[in-house]
């Protein structure tokens, strides 16, 4: 694993907290956070009121210099999330559950309210 600067870790955590808050407001339950295996990490596992399990990838950026955060989630990243979701469901004995992959782009410009671009069921 590459070493990540403290600032980036903090920024990522801030973004994830923001998304969790949003999901709770939607009436979701948070099943897991920062679940990590060798293959990678799932930022958030939540369950919608209708029972669908959502695996959420959160990308946070503090400026638009490198584009909108949602553009930072490529097709490879979402494919990896697909594999991680399989691993998570096996580990947690929820293999048969309905699930979907969600993406969240958080724009956290300093001294301004966070902006969230949430895309559900992207694959």
């Amino acid at each position: 694993m590459r070493s990540v600067s403290t600032y980036k870790k903090l920024l990522g955590a801030q973004g994830e907290d923001f998304v969790v808050e949003y999901l709770l407001k939607q009436g979701c339950i948070i099943l897991d956070r920062n679940w990590r295996i060798k293959e990678g990490e799932i930022d958030i596992v939540s369950q919608y009121p209708n029972g669908v399990v959502a695996f959420v990838e959160v990308k946070t950026r503090s400026s638009l210099t490198f584009g909108h955060p949602i553009e930072g989630i490529g097709i490879e990243k979402s494919m990896r999330l697909q594999r991680l979701a399989l691993a998570w469901r096996c580990t947690n004995k929820m293999f048969g559950a309905d699930y979907q992959i969600d993406c969240a782009g958080v724009l956290a410009i300093p001294n301004r309210p966070c902006e969230l671009d949430y895309r559900s069921a992207i694959l």
Partner: protein, 508 residues
């Protein structure tokens, strides 16, 4: 989130097909998918289109963009779809209305800065758009001269994506487009006047131009074979507008017009190098089948210098176009037909060292070498050559004489008159040139004077003329007669025609 579609044109050979460019902007992470069998230039359009849109101060949608070029089964190539793709994306994003543009076509490559750049094949594309019932065409401004040859369709030349958007949003078409385009006929700077002496060769050239007869020039290096051949287009009648469009369309597909100034009424002169490949000679290519030298010389002259040096097969590939006036190319991606009706001019040295003509002094070749050299021009090809000419160095007297030779304009006026005579004579037939008279009709409707026919028959009796050669000589005799303003070929016309075929002596 949205859906939009626009029309464009894809070329297969010279035939255009209507392509529907559809764009869907849907849910999902940002991505871009291009469907409809694109080649690599077309696949790369994504990055051009994205940069062009952003640099034109429009928004690039952060969604899943699906671009489909239908019909999906037809392979598509080239960069001409950049403009319709970009406009469809902007329209699907809701930034411009596209409903009134149902009968418009859009063509053009985009630069990263949003500039609309010229593409090849504009002329045949517009002809196709017109015949498909389209009313309006948005094309690159730099293709405007070429596009102005087409009438019956409103052409809107655009310089940039931004400008196109302004027009589509109801803005005025900028004023500088209303300028009249000038059809420039570049004055050729070569003239038959430049040729010193060579009265026999000049006469042969004139006869060849009159009846569009194919020509073989044999002579030692430096006698002016190339010089003579280059001047044939200057004595041919100027192309009429229909021929001009045909020629321009072929050159446009080949991408030879990108920097030119529009239509040209001078017959084309194409001289491929003798190392040229078969595909370059008759046309080819795996994805987009492009016209070859034979088609580029359509209505003009195809000149092959050092013909015996050509790879075997390259010259023989010309037999089909010589016969039918068109080239049919079959590849995995499809079958394409290009017109190829040209005057073939072959030039050759008499032997590998080039010095065996005349007394053959200084020639270092063995007799076997000399014989083999010209044998490389295959029999079936040579059979299609009507006039065989020995080009000898100008004499000392000719070099010293200061009198000027006839200019191309003078010779051309005679050629034009002779062509008119032919057109009147063949008014009831599907052809209009002496070289195209079918053999059967030559023996029934287009005989020479009795004395002339007897001369030809006696030549045949002496085995100096084959049956095919008999017909060839008769066709040339008609051109000679037209040149001499005889109603039908006289004995002297037939004699001259015979000498044009047999002047090579031991080389033929």
């Amino acid at each position: 989130m949205g859906l939009a579609s626009l029309s464009s044109i894809s070329l297969v050979g010279l035939n255009g097909h209507l392509i529907n460019v559809e764009v869907d902007i849907g849910d999902g992470i940002p991505s871009y998918i291009l469907l409809g069998l694109p080649d690599s230039a077309l696949s790369e359009s994504k990055d051009r289109v994205r940069s062009a849109i952003i640099n034109s101060e429009e928004e690039w949608p952060r969604n899943k963009i699906t671009v489909s070029l239908s019909p999906a089964w037809m392979p598509k190539s080239g960069s001409g779809f950049d403009l319709p793709i970009a406009l469809s994306i902007i329209a699907a994003h809701g930034a411009i209305p596209l409903a009134p543009e149902a009968d418009s076509v859009f063509l053009g490559e985009l630069g990263l800065d949003g500039e609309v750049r010229p593409i090849r094949g504009i002329l045949p594309s517009l002809l196709a758009a017109k015949s498909l019932g389209m009313k309006r065409a948005f094309i690159p401004f730099k293709n405007f001269l070429e596009a102005s040859l087409v009438s019956g369709i409103e052409v809107v030349p655009v310089t940039s994506l931004k400008e196109t958007l302004q027009i589509l949003r109801g803005g005025q078409i900028p004023q500088h487009f209303q300028e009249e385009s000038e059809t420039v006929t570049p004055a050729s700077d070569i003239d038959l006047m430049d040729v010193v002496g060579q009265s026999a060769s000049r006469r042969a050239l004139e006869i060849a131009a009159i009846g569009a007869h194919h020509l073989l020039l044999i002579g030692p290096p430096g006698t002016g074979k190339t010089m003579l051949a280059e001047r044939i287009p200057t004595i041919l009648p100027a192309l009429d507008s229909e021929q001009g469009i045909e020629v321009t369309a072929i050159h446009s597909v080949a991408g030879k017009l990108l920097n030119s100034t529009g239509s040209n009424s001078l017959p084309p002169f194409v001289s491929p190098h003798h190392t040229t490949s078969t595909a370059a000679m008759v046309g080819g290519g795996s994805h987009q089948i492009k016209p070859g030298a034979a088609s580029l010389a359509h209505h003009g002259v195809l000149f092959i210098d050092e013909a015996p040096e050509c790879a075997t097969g390259v010259l023989d590939a010309l037999r089909q176009p010589l016969e039918s006036g068109e080239v049919t190319i079959s590849r995995a991606s499809g079958i394409v037909k290009y017109p190829a009706r040209f005057i073939l001019v072959l030039a050759a040295n008499p032997c590998p060292c080039g010095r065996s003509s005349g007394k053959g002094r200084g020639c270092t070749c063995s007799s076997l070498q000399i014989r083999r050299y010209l044998q490389r021009l295959s029999g079936p090809l040579m059979d299609r050559i009507d006039i065989r000419l020995l080009v000898l160095p100008p004499s000392r007297l000719e070099m010293a004489t200061a009198t000027k030779s006839e200019s191309s304009a003078v010779v051309r006026s005679r050629v034009v008159a002779a062509r008119d005579t032919q057109r009147n004579r063949f008014a009831n037939f599907p052809w209009h040139l002496n070289s195209q008279i079918p053999a059967k009709l030559l023996r029934t409707d287009f005989l020479a004077e009795k004395a002339g026919m007897n001369l030809l028959l006696s030549e045949m009796d002496m085995d100096r003329l084959s049956a095919r050669g008999f017909h060839k000589v008769l066709r040339v005799a008609w051109s000679v007669a037209d040149s001499n303003q005889h109603q039908i070929p006289t004995i002297t016309d037939v004699q001259e025609a015979l000498s044009l075929r047999q002047s090579l002596g031991h080389f033929s």
